[in-house]
Amino acid sequence: MKKITLTVNGVLRSIQVEDDDRRVLLDLLRENLGLPGTKQSCDRKGQCGACTVLVNNRAVRSCLTRLRDLDGAEVVSIEGLGTPEKPHPIQEAYVLTGAIQCGFCTPGMIMATKALLDQDPHPDTKLIKETLQRNLCRCTGYTKILQAVKLAAELLSGQTTLEAVRPDPRDGLIGASLPRPNALALACGTAKFAGDMQMEGLLHLAAVRSPHAHALIRSIDYSTARAMPGVVGVMTAQDIKGSNRLQDDQPLLCDKKVHVMGDAVALVVAETKDQALAATKAVLVEHEPLPIVATTDQALTDGCIRVHEQIPNLCYEHPQIKGDAASAFGNSDEVVEAEFSTQLIHQAPLEPEAAFAYLETSEDEDEPKLVVVGRSINIHHHLMVLQKALGWDNMRYEQPFIGGQFGIKMDITAEGLAAAAALHFKRPVRYVCSLAEAMWITPKRHPFTMKVRLGARRDGKLTAYAIDFTVNNGAYMSVGRAIVNRSLYMLSGSYSIPAVEAFGRLVYTNDAWGGAARGAGPPQVNFALESAMELMAQRLGIDPLEFRLINSLRPGESISTGQVIDEWPYAGCLEAIRPHYERARRESSGSKKGRYRRGVGIAGGSFGIGRGGADRSNVAVELMPDGGLTVYGSISDPGEGNDAMLTQIAAHLMRIPPEKVLLVTRDTERTPDSSSASGSRVTYMSGGAMVNAIEQLKAAMAEISAQGYDDMIAAGKPTRYLGTRIQDATLLEPKTGQGAPFESRVHGAQMAEVEVDTETGNVRVVKMTAAVDAGTVINPVIVEGQIEGGMDMGVGMALREEYVHGRTKDWVSIHFPTMKTSFESTVILLQTPRKKGTLGAVGVSEFVLLPTAAAVITAIQDATGGARICELPATPARVLASLARKRAG
């Protein structure tokens, strides 16, 4: 043992270190010194950079830096750089450029930036990319981070000042790129995430998980584990008093059978995480393996074993019939046919699963209140789920900051285990999953296989579309039915197609279960449609942009659900892309030979706003004594910037400064049910509900000519008003798939420019250009950031990412996007105010993913002249295979 002395954020610390001490600097900061601003994501493999701090002015990964090596070191963590009250210019630069979305990567990114700028005060783009390429971000596509580093350099060198670059709210609040209200806390590491929670008497949870994909549970023996050091107890399904179900087919702790590798069968709580993990290895579970249903084809064969005994493997199906497709195909001049497939993808939020739960007692209540802190984006719904699962009603769900989610937190898992343990052992319990475990227990983007036919007349007008698609649902239902439904809601994309015949089916297997994932169904079917559009344009010899314009739906025409549309600004997006498209075509025309070839591709998309069908959001507002406004609503903000949207609209309507708006959004006790942060519905639905509440407040004030709070109180008027926004849309008729699922939509077109290495098959995206019409833009920088990040995710879907359950286990094996894979982006924001939009606005975040993959694949084909790639991702092997097919004729 030895004593080491080091300085942390200017404070001298002495620490006893064992000779074989395995602790790293990250442990010291987070667990011993109470400095949780430094994050960890990658299971301490040095892959993510979220834990970056300065040691002797050099950026290091604190997860790999042994304490015993730090004698005499000077350490600076994010908390030592600046505070929300006195931020460092680098922190200000990240806030002002919109480089912070979920903010989980931000502390590490900022510390790496600090080290870079200390070394080189004026780095160029190439140097920034090289230096920060091992700091990962899932949200931004890195574009705004590059801008932040450059702005920081200018601020530090005196080339500009904060006053010169900071927007002035007095210039207007709608269409203004004001900094997000939460951004500074994220930049300074003071925003608390679930894994940052501490409490006296805290226990740590570890789960015993099945190594089998399909097996009966014969017995569980935890007698040895229970007696191990530090272990407080072990729980199995029989210790849970409620239904023990997260959904009808998904147990919280498996009781009789496991349905997918990684299912939880028992949990251990102990004084330390290491003790809990050690004890899980001593829990003996006797399984009786069952045949594994590995594919949808296997699942649908006669006699195949069922994944769930009471439900057929073909667990949902839905047709869609518009017009007479058979006749329309018969009368078509050209028909193209193809088969497409998309892959299983992990949404890959940088923050691994984490939850925290404890009992709260009060004199007013007979029984303690179970408080669950977790990453749900639908907190009232998940409160209800947990109440049923645990058989405990007196409960509150709290949401900390969320390190990205992209749909993954439409389901909960870790929260249920932490809550069950806290209730059972009556102690606070924290459950922070490893990254690999987080991947096992969360839903994924569903893989699709799609057979497509598209018909057209010689003049380019589409006549008919047919698609037969099969969705691998994996082991649990989650939102699987909605995935099929949403695919049908948006099946005909941006186009007017007189006749449509579709059939979607959802199939259980013992693979990882699918769930909500940015776009949730439409990105997959839109890839097939836009690919078929490209094939048809080639067949007809019509320019792809002109072909899309010819077929763009126009007001008065109907989509595949039969819904007649009254606003459809898609053609304007294509026209906005046109000059960029013509420029890119010219530039790439000379690069069609040789090893490195350039190509251009475009694709479009239109995305319905809301859950689909009837939708409702409740939001309350309260006029405060100081003239400010408090907004109450369960409106999650895992990085999209909903805090800015609500604040700017509220301040605009109330004619008050943004800092007078307070948002209360994070717990079920103080908020109305605003429903989920999904379906790109928050601005439209919850923003709309807030506007409704403000209108009620202003009407009440106008009635008595009130100038403010005091007048309302004196007149006996309420100061709090509950607003609602209801979308009177319909689900689809079961036999025809006809209905009116959305009131409004976001539209856009994208162009990909790529360079293909014809020897290796590697594809480099050089640039993406997006033209998006989401109605009124509340905060341009935030909308741009969503589009840039969405395109980065779409490029990952097109080229790299594929999750293989059990094999994909970290950020390297998932092919996480880096600064090295990032590309130049141009975003064109068009603003056709929507009749029913919130001040004319709709959402944008999910739509972005619809056109990207098809645009990239088209660009590859344009570059190489090879056969079209129909299976995603377009790996180097598939690119080379497409070239070989072309050569073979």
């Binding site: 209540e365 009232h380 007196n394 439409m410 689909g612 409740n618 429903s675 989920s676 509950l722 689900l731």
Partner: protein, 87 residues
Amino acid sequence: MVHPESWTKRFAEILAREDGLAELTEVHWRIIDFLRQYYQANGRAPLNTELRKGTGLALAEIEASFPKGIRLGARRLAGLPNPKSCA
């Protein structure tokens, strides 16, 4: 209900009969009225502990008053929308 504002007493009576309740008593209406008032003020359903305090009734009595219990019985009759996920 997506539109709890369009709820009527007649609506509750029809659903009650579906649930096997021939008649809604004063106790039933006290519970239903509280649920509706709470939802209109707070935009969410009350926890059971809030329901107990608000009605002055024992939880067991409230639960027993509706054949389908509080969540699936009383709340439904009161026209309260349950929190939703994607359908």
